[in-house]
Amino acid sequence: MDTEAKTVTGKDRYKSGVMEYKKMGYWEPDYEPKDTDVICCFRVIPQDGVDPVEASAAVAGESSTATWTVVWTDRLTAAEKYRAKCYRVDPVPGAEGQYFAYIAYDLDLFEPGSIANLTASIIGNVFGFKPLKGLRLEDMRLPTAYVKTFNGPATGIVVERERLDKFGRPLLGATVKPKLGLSGRNYGRVVYEALKGGLDFTKDDENINSQPFMHWRERFLYCMEAVNKAQAATGEVKGTYLNVTAATMEDMYERAEFAKELGSVIVMIDLVIGYTAIQSMANWARKNDMVLHLHRAGHSTYTRQKTHGVSFRVIAKWMRLAGVDHIHAGTVVGKLEGDPATTKGYYDICREEFNPQKLENGLFFDQNWASLNKLMPVASGGIHAGQMHQLLDLLGEDVVLQFGGGTIGHPMGIAAGATANRVALEAMILARNEGRDIVNEGPDILKAAAKSCQPLQQALDTWKDVTFNYASTDTPDFVPTATAA
């Protein structure tokens, strides 16, 4: 690793031709990042024979000012300021041929308040750069000066709870199943049963938009009948995430306006609509007092493998800036990818005011959120009432727990499934607050609660100890080691 490479200065720097990136000013080992710099940590996997420092400097170059050859027009600019500077390259523990490159970017490289602009730089061209086998954006430190150019979550956890009048426990939801094929009328039936039975929310799935079997207006109208009827049946505020994802912004605004007109408390979008559309919908939600749910549809195509792509922790940071209120962030115990330590990092990004560096959770930097609202994580996919103690222990209470199959698949029906989940949850919160060890006593607490709740007993009997135990692909690279106090 050629850490001794020196930046060429003076006239020689601008001689026509090709020069190594590490000599063009993109490798500055003595550089001390400013408080206002954006800092990225990339996992760099150079092609065989490529020097890691040169590869890392190339990443800095290609994600900021560089092109493949020297250009004299650099000299018309304050080029030294605009060059991203790689200041540190470390081998990845236990992974030969992989390196963590730390790169600092001057704040003036980015348009205020624009995720599209930030990402066009940081993950623009550079991921296809030939001298690299793979590249992964592991984490970003967003300076307070930049964070403050974003509005952040339209509603935030606290205000969402105040509006819903629900405190002290995770919220409960369910995705309507089957996700495709139900008519509007049948769809609303599932919503009504689940909400009446005890859930706070139901949810459209990511790919429920406006298909031949169900036009979006049909769904919205029947769903709001279900929501209002369930509110009257329980005396509680209820909601259903109406997915407004559509082909164009005009369509999305039309659907969102209709959801508002019908009195829905929440609308939903998918990650695949793109960063600009997400920011537009966040602005709309802020203007219209609407909670904005984001389904992270598509993210695993680039977040799951450690050898190439963008870590989900970075996506979570961008989404907190962009201004959504809910984001799917993993269940740990359910059917989808989620290592416990890595998932904890995502949850901390969503919910904390300040994230200290925690390498064991994949957090490479201190991150101050500068009073941006908190983002409610959502745990969805393959979870059931019998796991309530684990879910509460791993995910905490500011989370939406979504039991789709775990509600609708209940042998006695949807409302019974919802009741089972709600009773299991309330019993576990009560026990935790009483100081009981829910991790170990969890199964007993559930059994005791089931004595006065037959639907819970049936849920426990049906799913017993169903788990999805597979090795995670996205795990932290650092393990905590004991240090002398």
Partner: protein, 140 residues
């Protein structure tokens, strides 16, 4: 019907011993416990009447339970809820809120009115059946 507002409404009504433990949990977290009562259970009736101020300086749950019992003596025919406020920066709101007293008679529930509007749209109004009577004369 049973109104299911609050954190523990799906469990059998909490005993005073169970309530005491929840109160102590709140106090140990540094939250101020507050008692409120109402005879209007509408889901969007945010401002129940306060039974005094939130108890900022009480360190023992017994003090809160004494207040709860006093409140029950006067308003035992209404809903009473216990809420805990966290004044920490970044929250500054309610952390836990649950019903600790319900009207002794059957809760009659809510009427749902539908007003048909253009384009198949429906305007919904939820009204507690008891709200037809003046405050203070709704239960018992």
């Amino acid at each position: 019907m049973r109104i299911t507002q609050g954190t523990f409404s799906f469990l059998p009504d909490l005993t005073d011993e169970q309530i005491t433990k929840q109160v102590q949990y709140c106090i140990d977290n540094g939250w101020a416990v507050n008692l409120e009562f109402t005879d209007d259970p509408h889901p969007r009736n945010t401002y129940w009447e306060m039974w005094g101020h939130p108890m900022f300086d009480i360190e023992d749950a017994a003090g809160v339970m004494m207040e709860l019992n006093e409140c029950r003596k006067v308003y035992g025919d209404r809903y009473i809820r216990l809420s805990a406020f966290d004044a920490s920066h970044g929250w500054e709101s309610v952390k836990l809120s649950f019903i600790v007293n319900r009207p002794s008679e059957e809760e009659p529930g809510f009427r749902l009115d539908r007003q048909e509007a253009a384009g198949r749209n429906i305007r919904y109004t939820t009204s507690p059946y008891v709200a037809a009577k003046p405050e203070g004369q709704r239960y018992g």
